[in-house]
């Protein structure tokens, strides 16, 4: 995972010569000064690391353990180790496989759209003008609303019984669309909802990153005759590469865990076409109390997430747009 390269710290290159080791792990201290400071580094990461280990990684380890048992969350007994039986059952369960397919499709579409719209609106709002704050606030609102409430509104607006959208459609003579109860509209609608909810997050992060681009870059380009669109693609977008990398990784991770909106909007229907892996896990864990299966599915989700994140990190590091590790 580490990118191994030869590194010579700038401040000591000439006077003390290169360090004894020719290959250095990127994060390791090299000079004495760095080593001294490194200790402070441990202190700085301590709160985050310790708390995360205690409250997330320890329960995660337990979950991995449970995935090899027939754990019942209600009674709590984990007497029987069943080895890989839970995993094998999952691969034979058509419901799980459907959920996996749905989740994959969902991730592939939702993440790029959310990021793309996020940078788009952030760029539109990058230069100051009157009313900018208002626009920004209004576009951000979906992200701050409780998902259950938003999903209920969506559900009502899209109702086939004459919700606002369908009323408008019938006003122009078009047949009503069952946005949440027909295939493939149901999955599309869930995706649109998630994009709608997530753009605000991307936009805010990109706004900070775009604000960091020194004005002089834009000025120079303007003098060279570049229009706003050209400047966006040649200057802004490349320079926010690290941000894009960050949003891509966290976006995928978040999308893999979509649940609440599926439950409120479609309950996984119609015909399980919107059921996601986490929804499946919820069913197994909370409705049927098959803790072992739920844990196994969670471990699979986790593994996929790790693999995808690592791949993303590799791709981004190679393209040199981001120094991530």
């Amino acid at each position: 995972m580490a990118i191994i390269e030869k590194r010579v710290p700038d401040s000591v290159a000439v006077t003390t010569g290169p360090p004894a080791r020719t290959t250095v792990r990127h994060g390791d201290p090299v000079t004495k000064a760095e080593r001294r400071e490194g200790r402070a580094g441990y202190l700085l990461i301590a709160p985050t690391t310790v708390l995360l280990f205690v409250f997330y990684l320890y329960p995660l380890a337990l979950t991995v353990y449970y995935s090899f048992t027939d754990w019942n969350p209600a009674t709590g007994d984990t007497k029987n180790l069943v080895g890989l039986a839970n995993y094998a059952d999952l691969f034979h369960d058509s419901e799980f496989l459907t959920a996996t397919g749905n989740t994959a499709l969902y991730v592939i579409i939702v993440v790029p759209c959310t990021i793309g719209l996020g940078v788009f609106f952030a760029a539109l709002l990058a230069t100051p003008f009157r009313g900018r704050g208002v626009y920004r606030a209004l576009i951000f609102v979906p992200h701050i609303a409780p998902i259950v409430g938003s999903a209920l509104i969506f559900s009502y607006l899209l109702s086939p019984l004459g919700g606002l959208i369908n009323s408008a459609l019938s006003a122009v003579g078009a047949p009503p669309i069952g946005f949440l109860n027909t295939q493939p509209w149901a999955l599309i609608t869930v995706m649109v909802f998630s994009i709608w909810e997530g753009v605000g997050f991307s936009m805010i992060i990109y706004s900070a990153a775009l604000a960091n681009i020194p004005d002089s870059y834009h000025e120079a380009a303007k003098l060279d005759g570049a229009g706003p669109i050209r400047r966006f693609f040649s200057i802004s977008l490349p320079l926010v590469g690290p941000t894009t990398g960050f949003l891509a990784i966290t976006g995928v991770i978040g999308a893999l865990q979509v649940f609440t909106q599926v439950y409120v909007l479609t309950r996984g229907g119609p015909l399980r076409s919107t059921e996601t892996v986490l929804y499946y896990i919820y069913q197994q864990g909370f409705v049927f109390f098959h803790g072992g299966s739920a844990s196994a599915a969670a471990v699979i989700l986790l593994t996929v997430g790790i693999v995808v994140s690592v791949l993303q990190l590799r791709v981004l590091a190679k393209r040199d747009t981001v120094e991530l590790v």
């Binding site: 109702s159 019984l161 439950y263 015909l271």
Partner: protein
């Protein structure tokens, strides 16, 4: 180059300070105007034992429930019931189990909406079996106060763990104006008649004769079980070890539904989202002339369609009348003997005919204690509300769903296959066969 960002830092900290100040001031102001008694947690007073009761919100009847609880507290001096409204959520039962295991649970759960899933809670060992209370000579509640169906909703492994405190069933609701327009003079009594009436009531895709519970969730199995029983079929065998709905009777029961979808007389898609609200939405939007629904939705239907326009008839039979029970049950959790006795005292109070009459008149649900049928208030209410009487009369022959741990999984499997069949993606025979396979796997 020394960066001088002190200005922005100042601005930042000042802004942060303002934010915190506003937030604290607002919060304090709001907590002051929160009005009424905060549902804090009453400590035990010297002589009275506190009985902590968990209940979900009952909407507009919450104040009445509070009042009834206060009446109970005032009527005796041994126990104080502290009712704590719990948030509705998908994981309510898991939360309850977690609370119990971590010693933060209640003494009594009122009106649990998923009584057939109680098996999981029971397996934690925390639910108190009620047989000894029901058999005690000084208790006002006996097993004879309940029909077999009612008792069945709370019986697990031969013991009574919960008692139904809110009864619900369903019936055929129909739009009288649409009936008149189609020239139908009385509601159908058999399912064959219903199919004929539905054909008369269907106007292209603008209005459908019937709304059937197509879609995910527990509603379809809940409604369909009555069809199965009405056709003479059984859901499970006597000792709940095998499912028996994959039978000729089962196929007849499901075909009765799928034929209507095929003929275009039943609304062909799902309306099971919370905002569409299934059967209720189908009728309030005038998309369907008939639907299956419970008594508690009559209020909404009346407001939308006009009370004179909403008719209620017993669920039409295939061969014989049948009905399913949707009860909310209450149960006692282990605690000190005083707390358990207090919970039992409250449960008895809640099930007295007087209280049941008051509560059910307000909520539109049905009494579970047979004695309530003799209560004068309730009888006069029924006389004035013949529509509710239809629901109440059905209770006499209503069955309960099987009380087993695997019921959730079985219902879910059946629901998925029923949905597929009703969306005409598979035949009724295939649907029941697939459901049987999945259910059998779940029972292992």
């Amino acid at each position: 180059m020394k960066p001088p960002p002190s200005k922005s830092r100042q601005l930042f900290t000042r802004r942060a300070g303002i934010a915190v100040a506003i937030a604290s001031a607002a919060a304090l102001a709001l907590s002051a105007c929160s009005g009424g008694s905060v549902t804090g947690n009453a400590a035990d007073t010297k002589d009275r034992t506190t009985v902590v009761v968990w209940a979900g919100t009952s909407g507009s009847t919450d104040p009445l429930r509070k009042q009834l609880v206060e009446d109970f507290n005032a009527s005796q001096s041994k126990y104080t019931v502290d009712i704590q409204v719990q948030p509705t959520s998908l994981t309510a039962q898991a939360r309850l189990i977690n609370a119990i295991k971590n010693k933060q649970g209640p003494n009594f759960v009122l009106d649990d909406g998923q009584p057939q899933s109680l098996g999981q809670v029971i397996s934690t060992g925390a639910v108190v079996p009620l047989d000894k209370y029901l058999g005690a000579s000084d208790s006002t509640l006996k097993k004879s106060n309940f029909t077999d169906g009612m008792l069945g909703t709370g019986t697990f492994h031969g013991k009574v763990y919960s008692l139904p405190t809110q009864g619900g069933d369903y019936a055929l609701i129909y739009n009288k104006a649409m009936f008149k327009a189609a020239g139908i003079t009385k509601p159908p009594a058999t399912w064959a008649e219903l199919q004929k009436d539905a054909a008369k009531l269907t106007i292209g895709t603008q209005q459908y004769g019937m709304y059937l519970p197509i879609g995910p969730g527990g509603t379809a199995p809940y409604y369909w079980q009555s069809m199965l029983w009405s056709a003479g079929g059984e859901f499970m065998n006597a000792d709940n070890t095998k499912v028996e709905f994959n039978s000729p009777e089962g196929v007849r029961a499901l075909t009765a539904w799928t034929d209507m979808v095929k003929a275009g007389t039943a609304y062909p898609a799902s309306l099971q989202t919370p905002s569409d609200n299934g059967s209720t939405g189908a009728m309030t939007s005038k998309k369907a002339a008939m639907a299956i629904n419970g008594a508690y939705n009559l209020g909404i239907l009346d407001k939308a369609l006009g009370a004179d326009n909403v008719g209620v008839a017993p669920l039409p039979k295939i061969d014989k009348p049948a009905m399913n029970l949707g009860s909310n049950n209450s149960y006692i959790l282990k605690g000190t003997p005083a707390q358990e006795d207090g919970a039992w005292a409250f449960l008895q109070y809640w099930l007295t005919p007087k209280v049941q009459a008051k509560w059910d008149i307000a909520t539109g649900l049905l009494p579970t204690n047979i004695e309530t049928a003799k209560n004068a208030t309730w009888k006069s209410f029924l006389a004035k509300n013949p529509r509710i009487k239809v629901f109440a009369d059905e209770l006499a022959y209503a069955n309960s769903r099987p009380s087993i741990d695997a019921y959730g999984a079985i219902s879910d499997a059946l629901s998925a296959e029923l949905e597929k069949a009703m969306l005409l993606k598979q035949s009724p025979e295939e649907a029941l066969k697939n459901a049987e396979t999945a259910a059998t796997a779940a029972l292992k």
